[in-house]
Symmetry: C2
Subunit: 189 residues, 2 copies
């Protein structure tokens, strides 16, 4: 069985994944209460099923700037999607290959042997490009219990209509709801 | 105890409440399978707790055009928020009163005796105006399992930041997830 490409992301109730200027401070409302130990919202379980990470170049640079390194690349091959190729750095491969070919190769050749999945870690631009080509198999969306007045939307306008099937919905004490959807392919091929 | 103002609305996963031209056909993906009888997603239970309905003028006109009458006004006082006052028609009161005064009067005078709640039936313009003035107490949002590429957003940009508290989350066989939030007042007053 080929592996799946899974988009795993947090958003505010109204679809903003960041406030203006990439401000992610709204995520603080669901950060673990220090008295209760840390709640990781299933992230450790999820990441243990992942063999390869896919991330857009801007988001990758943003993470590097914020915390100095990209933690997933410590033990996972990480493809940074960029318009300018440059040499690999350890597990990090910078690529401008067509998404369709790259994903097809990852799903059917690279990950089929390990039966691990592929994780899209954002950002919005990459998620959109993948969705447009029907390359996302599942989405795990953590709905943060806030309304943001402005911000960066996960998906751009003018996308084609897509049906989804709910795989599961989990609620947490912090009011976070995690929705896990399967993307149904609706277009004729 | 004063009654509550509750916004009860359906949206696609990415916050669109209608496709362009007020097209609501995306709601068809969760219409009941005729073999299984009809699933009303808790609407009958909800509406039995409601004493008064609040609706924007455009949305009211849209419903009249679609189905010939506004069903809730059969047995409930219905306030249509409009810039042009006109005479009442049965249970339907057209009003241009300030929202704050109207809601305050409804909550503390009119509905307190009946202990019934107030239902905001949309549209986006009215929901925004109510949210801006911190007049919405709870939101029941039915997340329809589709991505729409374009459309009408429930909330406009430049709203203030608001925290929410999850009251409950229900999932249905059709993949619809119904999120029930309490709106927390965050601004200093």
């Amino acid at each position: 069985m080929p592996s799946k490409l899974i988009l795993y992301i947090a958003q505010s109730l109204y679809a903003y994944i960041a406030a203006p200027n990439d401000d992610l401070s709204f995520l603080d409302v669901v950060r673990a209460d220090t008295n209760k130990g840390s709640e990781d919202y299933g992230y450790a379980d999820f990441i243990s099923t992942i063999g390869t990470v896919l991330i857009g170049r801007k988001t990758y640079d943003w993470v590097l700037k914020q915390i100095g390194n990209y933690p997933n690349s410590e033990d996972k091959k990480t493809y940074v999607i960029t318009s300018q190729e440059k040499p690999s750095e350890g597990n990090v491969i910078f690529t401008n290959e067509r998404l369709k070919s790259l994903i097809h190769w990852l799903k059917y050749a690279e990950e089929e042997q390990t039966s691990k999945d592929i994780f899209c870690d954002g950002g919005a631009e990459l998620a959109n490009a993948l969705l447009r080509e029907d390359l996302i198999d599942e989405m795990i969306i953590s709905v943060i219990p806030v309304l943001l007045g402005n911000g960066i939307k996960l998906f751009a306008d003018d996308r084609p209509f897509r049906k989804l099937e709910l795989i599961s919905s989990k609620t947490y004490e912090s009011s976070l709801v995690q929705l896990h959807y399967k993307c149904l392919i609706s277009r004729e091929e």
